[in-house]
Amino acid sequence: MNILVCIKQVPDAETVFGVSEDGTRVLIPGNAVYRLNRFDEYALEEALLLKDRAGARVHAVSIGSPRVESALRRAMEMGAHAAYRLDPGSGEEPQTIEKARLVAAWAAGREYDLILTGIMSEDSMSCMFAPALAEHLGVSSATAVMVLDVRQEEGMVVAEREIDSSRREVVTLALPAVLAVQSGINRPRYPSLSNVMRAKGQVIETASAARGTGHAAPISRFREVSARREGRILKGSPGEKAAALCDYFHEAGVL
């Protein structure tokens, strides 16, 4: 069985994002820490569990600048056999649907039985990539997958989708399929020392991803999220803040 896992590199949660003066671009400080999108760790782990159980081959792919290679390296350290970077050329990162089209064009003909993604990227938060990829490939898809049971001989996968905290939708889909897995499906592993050593010797292959001339990307204006509440930030030393917070608890009538 051949599995492709789509991964994204994102800036860390503690990054202080800015906005350019004209509001057209999000600014990320030069010293920002980048890491693997947390939701993609679950997709990788699910692929690696299938590898451990059934001997699947696991490939990882990411669209982005050379910077994303550290996320691909991490995927190999966790146990992926090979990693590919699709270079979108210079300029802004493509729109999600365009990225899905680029991955589809690259993956078509490579005979993946299963393509896994995270449910959402922590930075764009669009929850859009997996169904769009499946549509471009003309294969079945499911999102928010909490249980995944691949029955390769029967050419199908049974997926349990999260509807809410107390309901799951159980759906049987023909392979190949694209599945966006939800966090909590497994506990992502830490790279073992032997895999870290093995990954050191591996090369990340690069393919250029020719951009289409589809319709123009929508124009966005960015700004800091506006506050919903007073958001009074308590000032002073840590001890003074603790005292001020106690005062607040009294005001709120809970102490």
């Binding site: 503690e14 499946a134 049987t172």
Partner: protein, 334 residues
């Protein structure tokens, strides 16, 4: 988005256990009206439950929209395949310029496919519509909830998913006679086998009696540190301990303590978020709280936008100070 290009706005509803489909549809209609301020666009609701005629009439009257009741040779239970195909066919037939889908686990499962199939632009998790002269912009958040973007969508067709709860239900300006039509659709499936819904183990923990909920996020760094959150909760009357989805995924807390759109919605007198970033999926479920306090070491964390009071500190060193302060005021030794 040039207004005059749109003739029809299609609202795709869903039949889903546990959600009130009428309430959600009213929100979609409110979003559609915000996108059609002059009321020139025809708004059509596609309804997938063969409801009684008078409830369909009421829906049409309550929203001022045409209702198309879709039915098949079997119930139109959700499948990605059928919903994508049939909504695409309907959108084409109606010449819909905008298709609006709720941002629910069913909605975001097929909306992007629908967009690709229609060659449309797709914008997900919309929280508002802004007007800027002639231009209408769609508002959503990104970057861990820190950045808001307002998006001008161009002239082409558009598929939107709308955050539940984001649009306040309003009422159509004119009372019109209800328009309800019925139409049969195909339920044929080629790549989908069986579909069913089963109940997962629901959490026993009940937050509804809690006056104060203290919650742990990934920022608590490790399982042992969640004890600080437990300790803090015990200083309050009628307390409970909650957590972000990540804190539960990490096994620090049981899943029945998860607060959020896929956990529990809470509305205590006081909610204290410790090491929680403030992602929409978490905060959407705490907004009913009377008071919200956030402790987070990142001054730009989105949770501060949701809080009445905030402390920018390392929670692991700050919470012990806070415990000592509370205890000294209570006159007992820490």
């Amino acid at each position: 988005m040039k207004r005059d290009r749109h003739k029809t706005i299609l609202l795709m509803t869903e039949r889903s256990e546990g959600v009130n489909p009428h309430a959600l549809t009213m929100e979609l209609a409110a979003c559609a009206r915000a996108l059609s301020p002059e009321g020139r666009d025809e708004i059509t609701i596609a309804w997938t439950d063969p409801g009684a005629q008078d409830s369909m009439d009421a829906l049409s009257r309550g929203t001022g929209c045409r209702v198309l009741v879709l039915y098949g040779d079997r119930p139109l239970d959700y499948t990605c395949e059928v919903f994508t195909r049939e909504s695409a066919a309907l959108a084409r037939e109606l010449g819909a310029g905008i298709v609006i889908v709720p941002h629910t686990p069913r909605g975001y499962d097929y909306a992007p496919r629908l967009a690709v199939r229609l060659g449309a632009c797709c914008i997900t998790a919309i929280e508002g519509v802004e007007r800027d002269g002639e231009t209408l912009r769609l508002v959503r958040t990104a970057c861990f909830g820190k950045i808001s973007s307002s998006i001008e969508s161009g002239d082409g067709p558009l598929v939107l998913t709308v955050m539940p709860g984001a649009f306040r239900t309003d009422h159509p300006s004119k009372e019109a006679a209800p328009v309800v039509e019925r139409r049969s659709v195909s339920t044929r499936m080629e790549t989908t086998g069986s579909v069913s819904v089963r109940s997962a183990k629901g959490g026993a923990l009940d937050f509804s009696n809690a006056d104060v909920i203290v919650s742990a996020g990934r920022g608590m760094q490790k399982a042992e540190n969640v004890n600080l959150v437990r300790e803090l909760s015990r200083r309050f009357p009628r307390p409970a301990v909650g957590g972000s989805r990540i804190a539960c995924d990490l096994g620090w807390l049981d899943y029945d303590a998860q607060v959020g759109i896929t956990g529990k919605a809470v509305a205590p007198r006081l909610y204290v978020a410790c090491g929680i970033s403030g992602a929409l999926q978490h905060v959407a479920a705490i907004r009913g709280s009377r008071h919200i306090v956030a402790i987070n070491r990142d001054p730009s964390a989105a949770i501060f936008k949701e809080a009445d009071a905030g402390v920018v500190e390392d929670a692991i060193t700050f919470i012990p100070l806070l415990l000592a302060e509370i205890d000294s005021r209570k006159g007992s030794a820490p």
